[in-house]
């Protein structure tokens, strides 16, 4: 064994993770090479001392914020599946209405019930909008993250919430909030405002991870008008390599 080969064995020698064959090869070399022997000893003692350095502990807020994020994410994930739920609710409603007519219920009373349900739904919708908007304005990033999750519970035609989400995408100082806000734009895809704003946001965004999320969103929306902007990203030498690669991929997808 040469001194150079020792370089790749030393860390395992200190950590005692060499297999018996390698261990005896290293020991044989150390027995004859004084330089390596001295080095192994000196550096080995530093290696051991490293394990004695004090371990910094995170503050209790870290745990608290994690569980909040997890809860918000679960709410968001559960609320992101309303489409299917609505289909079933409508189907069940139709079935009930048919059964009602069959059983001789008057059309009038069913209309009254429908009006009450519609009013209740509007009130709940307002409440959700209020919660989402107020959380999105909080100082704490985890509160704003919860606000983004709440936006899944409002009607996708709510322009005020859409505007708040777009503000978060473009201006929120926290990268996670920006990222979550990009995801939350999916339900608002039908609006031409959203499509145009996503293209604009790609130009403004500095964090590569958010840029990639925006590009993915444009592909999901099949937004062919994004091609010139994507082309600009691909040819921008100062842009992140992953982002440029993703933009190239998106261009091919959108063709």
């Amino acid at each position: 064994m040469t001194c150079e080969e020792m370089e790749s064995r030393m860390a395992e020698y200190w950590g005692r993770t060499l297999d018996p064959q390698q261990q005896s090869e290293v020991e044989a070399h150390l027995a004859v090479c004084e330089t390596c022997r001295a080095g192994a000893q000196r550096l080995g003692s530093l290696w051991r001392d490293l394990a004695r350095l004090p371990t910094p502990e995170p503050g209790p807020g870290v745990r608290e914020r994690f569980y909040e994020t997890l809860a918000a994410y679960r709410d968001g994930a559960a609320a992101a599946r309303p489409a299917l739920k609505w289909v079933w609710q409508i189907a069940a409603g139709v079935a009930l209405a048919l059964a009602g007519v069959g059983a001789g219920y008057s059309l009038r009373s069913s209309q009254t019930v429908n009006a009450e349900v519609a009013q209740l739904r509007a009130e709940v919708g307002n409440m959700r909008q209020l919660v989402a908007l107020s959380l999105l304005q909080q100082q704490s990033a985890s509160e704003r993250l919860r606000g983004v999750s709440w936006t899944y519970r409002v009607e996708p035609s709510d322009t005020e919430v859409l505007a708040a989400l777009l503000t978060a995408v473009n201006h929120d100082p926290n990268v996670n909030v920006r990222l979550a806000a990009v995801d939350a734009l999916h339900p608002f895809a039908a609006s031409p405002v959203t499509r145009d704003a996503v293209i604009q946001a790609l130009r403004k965004q500095a964090a590569p991870i958010v840029q990639v999320a925006l590009i993915d969103l444009l592909v999901d929306l099949k937004e062919t008008e994004a091609a010139p902007e994507l082309q600009r990203v691909v040819s921008d030498n100062s842009a992140d390599a992953d982002v440029r690669q993703r933009a190239q991929w998106a261009l091919e997808k959108l063709q």
Binding site: A11, P58, N176
Partner: protein, 191 residues
């Protein structure tokens, strides 16, 4: 270590399949180590706490990209590196006054213990800590992963996207560089 890894991987596979509450177990197991990883690299407690949040948020968001055949820790530290780089980029983009930079440079000890703790720890460990702070970031990172996190070399290679052989050599060279700084500091102190 192997058994723990297998459990980590199995847990992450569950999270990936939609069983989100299982992420809490992984958080409890790894958030301190992650915090130490970040503090060792940036010496900023507050920023490191934020970065720990970033990592778990990204794990949640990208849970479906996890490959259960690969070590969870390697995947997690890959994400951690990326989060650190993104944050550094965000910070560079911020307009910060020169005072703020000087202030930041002047407080590398924000994560270090107080004077009493330092005295109890003995001179050598204090010097060693300073030497570690002065080590170039890539060398510090590989020491943190191999020594503090006790990751397997295969997993470090996967997280750093390089060959296992290269990791072993880099660990050795990092300790050698650390020794040079350590002795320079010792000499400076003696003179």
């Amino acid at each position: 270590m192997k058994a723990v890894d297998a459990t980590d991987n199995a847990l992450m596979a569950r999270v990936s399949a939609g069983d989100l509450p299982k992420l809490a177990v992984l958080f409890e197991r790894h958030h301190r180590a992650l915090f130490r990883y970040f503090v060792s690299l940036n010496r900023d407690r507050e920023l490191s706490e934020d970065l720990v949040q970033d990592v778990f948020f990204r794990i949640l968001r990208y849970r479906s990209t996890y490959d259960p055949g690969k070590a969870f820790t390697a995947w997690m530290y890959g994400i951690a590196r990326r989060a650190g780089l993104d944050r550094a980029r965000d910070r560079r983009a911020e307009v910060i006054g020169i005072e703020a930079i000087v202030e930041r440079r002047g407080e590398p000890a924000s994560a270090a213990p107080g004077p009493e703790e330092r005295a109890a720890k003995g001179q050598n460990l204090g010097l060693l800590e300073r030497a570690l702070d002065l080590l170039p970031a890539d060398k510090r990172e590989i020491l943190v992963l191999s020594r503090f996190q006790e990751m397997k070399y295969e997993d470090i290679a996967a997280a750093l996207n390089c060959e296992v052989g290269a990791v072993k050599v880099r660990v050795y060279r990092a300790v050698r560089a650390l020794e040079q700084i350590y002795f320079a500091l010792e000499k400076e102190k003696a003179s």
